[in-house]
């Protein structure tokens, strides 16, 4: 039901863009106004979300320790999984961001006869995520050829590498296959794995379906529905967008407007959804803090300077009489009363 809703929502978006762009004069709404609005919402929302996170204090050092911390010299320690210095934290973050290391150690609990529970490493999520994210990255980078004039050499190089199989015309991109494969595998994982399916919500399915829609409309535009898809006209519009002087001088096929509308929706939806893990991965205190609590005291930024530390000795001083009355042992006895002497 939840995934069916996601499909319906994306189909509705496609229909809006398809029918809307056919109305004369509406090309500027779908080709210029909505993309501009979307990129502003994306940038503004992204910065806003990161600032909100940056304003939240971290009261405790809450790194996930996955190995032996720094201790006595003869105890072998795990530098990556229990980082103690800044450079070790950077190394850990680097591997997290570029190799998805925490997904690599994803474990799956299974109940066998006995009853016996096992925790096996399940690498599928890691593999699917790698295929998906790297394909997406290359796709975003090579789309820059449509926004830059002249096209810088490194973008041309990425594109040439992506099309290296030289299949068909226009040449097939490897990342087209990678992105669709990655989305379908991640989506399939949510459907087939009962644990993951149970915790999946509409806002887990919707981005996947939306990205699948973007990929499919892009592929259709490049290889199949080529009526009125002249790359020079499209690039003239997109470079116009990037140089703040957009003009639509020729008719462009509806599939282009559908594609750019879905991308606009993704951009506008991005800062307010789980997709913010793009920024969040850098902001995660469980990964970006040093595990040096034995050496350095973590000061809670919430601490009220008016609340002084209260030692046990001070506590006993305050309550000694009542403690003695109640028969609680005290370290320092009450001073002898003068009357008795």
């Amino acid at each position: 039901m939840k995934y069916a809703f996601s499909f319906l929502a994306v189909i509705a978006l496609i229909l809006i863009a398809w029918l809307g762009s056919q109305i004369p004069g509406m090309e500027y709404l779908f080709g210029v106004a909505i993309p501009y609005l979307a990129i502003l919402v994306f940038l503004g929302g992204f910065v806003y979300r990161v600032m909100q996170w940056a304003k939240s204090p971290v009261p405790f050092p809450i790194q996930t320790t996955c190995g032996q911390g720094k201790s006595l010299d003869f105890i072998k320690r795990d530098k990556l999984d229990c980082p103690n210095t800044n450079s070790e934290v950077i190394a850990r973050m680097f591997l997290e961001i570029f190799a998805f290391r925490s997904l690599f150690r994803n474990t799956k609990s299974e109940l066998h006869e006995g009853p016996k529970i096992t925790y096996e490493s399940s690498k599928w999520l890691w593999l699917f995520a790698l295929i998906f994210h790297y394909s997406f990255l290359v796709i975003v980078l090579r789309h820059m050829r449509l926004f830059t004039n002249p096209v810088p050499g490194w973008i041309q190089a990425i594109e040439l590498g992506d099309a290296m199989l030289q299949i068909g015309a226009p040449t097939l991109y490897l990342t087209n296959i990678g992105l669709v494969l990655g989305v379908v595998l991640l989506f399939g994982r949510r459907l087939t794995n009962p644990h993951v399916r149970f915790i999946s919500l509409v806002n887990d399915y919707f981005p996947l379906v939306l990205i699948l829609g973007i990929a499919i409309t892009g592929i259709l535009m490049r290889y199949f529905l080529r009526t009125d898809i002249d790359i020079v006209n499209i690039k003239a519009l997109l470079v116009g967008l990037a140089t703040l002087q957009p003009v639509i001088s020729a008719e462009i096929g509806a599939i282009f407007y559908i594609h750019i509308f879905l991308v606009s929706v993704l951009l506008a939806y991005f800062p307010f959804s789980k997709l913010m893990h793009l920024g969040g991965v850098f902001m995660s205190p469980t990964r970006n803090m040093k595990n040096n609590t034995r050496a350095v005291r973590h000061i809670n930024p919430w601490n009220d300077p008016n609340i002084k530390p209260h030692s046990y000795a001070g506590y006993e001083d305050e309550f000694r009489e009542y403690m003695v009355d109640a028969g609680i042992p005290v370290e320092k006895e009450l001073p002898p009363k003068k009357d008795e002497a």
Partner: protein
């Protein structure tokens, strides 16, 4: 706000990364390519101009497969005019210059067709004959 020293530079890098095309182009869209029209004044091609613009690469690929893989060298007849299947034999009869016709759009859109791995332009062909 906490950790200003890392978060603010990080956000600046992110915004610069996203707005890359804006500052890279420097608000200058540059010229839109104008491919040279045939010198002989020919107006007709195998397909209407907008269809050629959108899908000439698919047509050329089909021709290549027909000729080189299936040996189908039959002539294409459009509006009473006969065209031989081939880049040098048909297209470049009218659109003689690679630089002034093909490359104008291909460079603009950063498309690198591998036609020229095997083909040479008529200009290059005549040059080669002269040097022999």
């Amino acid at each position: 706000m906490y950790n200003k020293k890392t978060i603010i530079p990080g956000l600046i890098i992110f915004v610069l990364f996203v707005t890359f095309p804006v500052w890279f182009n420097g608000l200058d869209a540059g010229p839109v390519p104008k491919p040279e029209m045939p010198q002989g004044g020919q107006k007709e091609c195998v397909l209407p101009a907008d269809e050629m613009r959108a899908s000439h690469m698919q047509l050329l690929n089909e021709w290549r497969d027909d000729v080189l893989r299936d040996g189908g060298r039959d002539v294409v007849t459009v509006a009473g005019k006969e065209y031989r299947k081939g880049l040098q034999m048909a297209c470049m009869e009218c659109h003689t210059s690679q630089e002034k016709f093909c490359d104008t759009c291909h460079i603009y859109a950063s498309v690198k067709p591998y036609c020229w791995d095997c083909h040479i332009t008529p200009e290059a062909a005549t040059k080669k004959k002269e040097t022999r």
